[in-house]
């Protein structure tokens, strides 16, 4: 199969993703230096909040969405051994999303959209920011349609056969994203844009926050699923072994999709516009969604153990030493799992109704999501990039040892940055302050941690530079590389798979029922009681 177009499509998406990442990484170091207050000449709250808003949009929305689309197109084409469905349609989606990013970037960089990537009405950004963000999401919907279309095409051509696991996971993510993005789409289309353009005078903040919470939890699983796909479908092969269980992997992806959606109110535990019972209901769901991650941890570590033993590792722990630590993707997963264990522990604290009150909106929270998103999710994006770049560009990886150094420095930098960040939260520091101005002795205890974080940020920026340098040098290399993405085989090939592990039909109905239960009345209540909207406020 000639897949030159698929390669170009994927590579173009991935370059946009990592270009956004590189710019955002520079801003990250600036922010950690500025907020420390040790360098007075840098202090500017206008620049700081424009930077924080842009950093969040680039890392959270641009890096992720473009990476997921590029990765998804190539996984679909290579695992199904099919060309990408309707390539003009796919390129159109890319164009729409990119136009949206450019449109949103203008007010962001100019300081006219310093409302952070979570929007925060009734503070109003320039309308272009909301319209650009909407176009980015609309562009990603093209990708969702492509993935579902290819899934359906393949099933028609191969009736009764199990859909390859990597494609099953990718379709799961497309369906998850359609459900997930509906919440923020409702907020932006029916509340933010009409209000920002002056068509309506007020906005109900309670409703806006409820709709945003709909999106806010499952979006992190949208970001995470490519990394989990690599855990299950790519790493076991790279490590020299087999996938421990194909069926449990499918079950884990289904649980992720179904249970990450109806639980967003753990972001609203401290909010006044939703009642106790609804918060508790979503809280219980939050613990159910730990199950697929528990299962994933077990299955992928069991797969690593198989590889370690096949490589000659003996004894209880000998297989760990026998793993190919010099394979970038295997190393990325090991480091990613370490950060997942630490970050997952913090996440359990956040999810716990009462303990959350002690850390809510403190520096603990950005510490947590940098560790688990910037750590686990993004380090696996790097591992995938090192594996995909030679395949997509047709050139061998420029330097493997540089890739290993990059992964290790990312891990070390992330630990040095996020550990003090968590501690600052426990010491009461609020999140998102650009400087420390409080007339209280407590702030003296913050200084050593602020200083330590700067070292972490510097290491992370150095690591980001190594990544971009290595990918760029690979791209412009003169040697040729011929190879394809290889997927891990399960120990037991899935046979007579029940339809509920091979299709999403029944799960879409389950999700619809869960969403109706979890969000039906909590949204309806705003139309049943007398509410008072807010006007437009600048920043």
């Amino acid at each position: 199969m000639n897949n030159a177009v698929e390669k170009k499509l994927a590579l173009t998406h991935l370059w946009v993703a990592f270009g956004a990442f590189a710019l955002a990484a520079v801003m990250g170091l600036y922010q950690v230096v500025e907020r420390s207050g040790f360098f007075g000449f840098l202090e500017s709250r206008e620049v700081y909040y424009a930077s924080v808003s842009t950093h969040g949009v680039l890392m959270g929305f641009v890096l992720t969405t473009f990476f997921i689309m590029g990765f998804g197109y190539y996984v679909a084409s290579s695992s199904l051994k099919m060309p990408v469905w309707n390539k003009t349609f796919a390129w159109t989606g890319f164009g729409v999303a990119l136009a949206g990013v450019v449109m949103a970037a203008l007010p962001l960089l100019g300081g006219a959209a310093s409302v952070l990537y979570t929007f925060y009405p009734p503070m109003k950004a320039h309308p272009l920011f909301y319209i650009g963000a909407t176009l980015l999401v609309v562009g990603s919907w093209f990708w969702c349609v492509s993935m579902i279309a290819m899934h359906v095409q393949w099933k028609k051509a191969n009736p009764g056969q199990p859909v390859p696991l990597a494609m099953f996971a990718t379709t799961a993510n497309a369906i998850l994203w359609l459900w997930t993005s509906a919440g923020v789409a409702l907020e932006v289309l029916f509340q933010l844009i009409p209000w920002a353009l002056g068509w309506v005078d007020t906005i109900d903040d309670g409703l806006a926050r409820t709709l945003f919470a709909w999106t806010l939890h499952p979006i992190v699983y949208f970001w995470l699923i490519p990394s989990y796909t690599a855990f299950y479908c790519l790493v076991p092969k790279q490590a020299g072994g087999f996938l421990f269980s194909d069926e449990m992997a499918r079950a884990a992806f289904i649980l992720l999709v179904v249970f990450s959606l109806p639980i967003g109110f753990h972001h609203l535990y401290m909010d006044p516009e939703q009642g106790h019972g609804w918060k508790l209901l979503h809280g219980v769901g939050t613990f159910i969604v730990t199950l697929p991650t528990f299962i994933t941890g077990f299955t992928v570590i069991a797969s690593l153990e198989i590889a370690g033993r096949l490589n000659g590792g003996k004894g209880l722990f000998g297989w760990i030493a026998a793993l190919p630590w010099t394979n970038p993707m295997v190393l990325a997963m090991i480091l990613g799992l370490l950060m997942l264990i630490l970050g997952g522990f913090g996440g359990l604290i956040n999810a716990s109704y009462a303990m959350n009150a002690m850390v809510h909106n403190t520096a603990w929270v950005p510490g947590h999501f940098h560790l688990i998103f910037g750590g686990t999710t993004v380090i696996m994006y790097f591992g995938i990039a090192y594996y995909f770049w030679p395949v997509l560009s047709g050139k061998p990886l420029y330097c493997k040892s540089l890739a290993l150094t990059q992964l290790w420095t990312w891990f070390v930098g992330m630990m040095i940055m996020t550990t003090p960040w968590h501690i600052l939260g426990l010491l009461g520091q609020p999140r998102r302050i650009d400087s420390v101005n409080y007339n209280n002795l407590l702030t003296l205890s913050w200084e050593p941690y602020e200083a330590t974080m700067i070292f972490g940020g510097a290491i992370l920026l150095y690591s980001s530079g190594l990544l971009i340098y290595n990918l760029y040098k690979t791209q412009i290399g003169s040697e040729t590389f011929q190879g394809e993405v290889e997927y891990a085989e399960p120990i037991h090939a899935p046979t007579d798979l029940p339809e509920y592990l091979n299709s999403f039909k029944v799960w879409n109905i389950v999700i619809a029922v869960f969403m109706l239960i979890a969000f039906g009345y909590p949204i309806l209540q705003f139309f049943l009681m007398e509410t008072f909207g807010s006007g437009r406020w600048g920043v």
Binding site: D205, D271, P272, I295, Y353, G428, G533, W537
Partner: protein, 174 residues
């Protein structure tokens, strides 16, 4: 379909772990009086000064007949009003927070007094402060360029000291 015995055991253990956490949270929420601000009460943030409850004279701590204290506070860029107040330790406190402009959040470090303050809604939270001392009230939600400058002060004193400071006027002439 093939599911390994080990995998089945692990799935059961995971279910048990999640179940245990859920049980602990439900018990602490339902029986230990965890009062997250969940009162779903609306108010017109643009007319606070005309409301009876949040008019200027009513802000700050007020003693209720049962000995508990209600603290009414207005958050606005960039401060929590009143800017300074004194509260008794070991007393049931009910904070009622409203915003006069955008979203704010507030917490007293090292305590569980924490809530979002969303315009259009009253955030009510109940707690007891156990340790005396000077605490800051810090804004913890981005609310504009002055976010880092938004704080107020609260002094926590013993219950008897607070009672001495707040004797009802015109009564104790003995």
């Amino acid at each position: 379909m093939h599911i390994d015995q080990l995998e089945k055991k692990w799935a059961t253990i995971s279910l048990g772990i999640a179940g245990l956490f859920v049980a602990i949270i439900l018990i602490s929420a339902l029986f230990h009086g965890i009062h997250a601000p969940s009162n779903v009460e609306t108010i017109d943030s643009a007319r606070l000064h005309l409301s009876e409850e949040f008019a200027e004279d009513n802000l700050g701590p007020q003693r209720n007949p049962d000995g508990s204290i209600t603290v009414r506070m207005v958050a606005g860029r960039y401060g929590f009003y009143p800017k300074t107040m004194t509260l008794p330790a070991e007393t049931n406190l009910t904070f009622r927070w409203v915003s006069l402009d955008v979203i704010h959040g507030v917490h007293i470090p090292m305590t569980n007094m924490s809530t979002m303050i969303v315009p259009g809604y009253v955030a009510q939270i109940k707690t007891v402060l156990h340790h005396t001392g000077d605490y800051p009230l810090l804004c913890n939600e981005y609310c504009g360029m002055g976010h880092a400058h938004m704080w107020s002060n609260v002094k926590v004193v013993t219950k008897s000291d607070w009672d001495d400071m707040n004797k009802p006027a015109g009564v104790s002439h003995e």
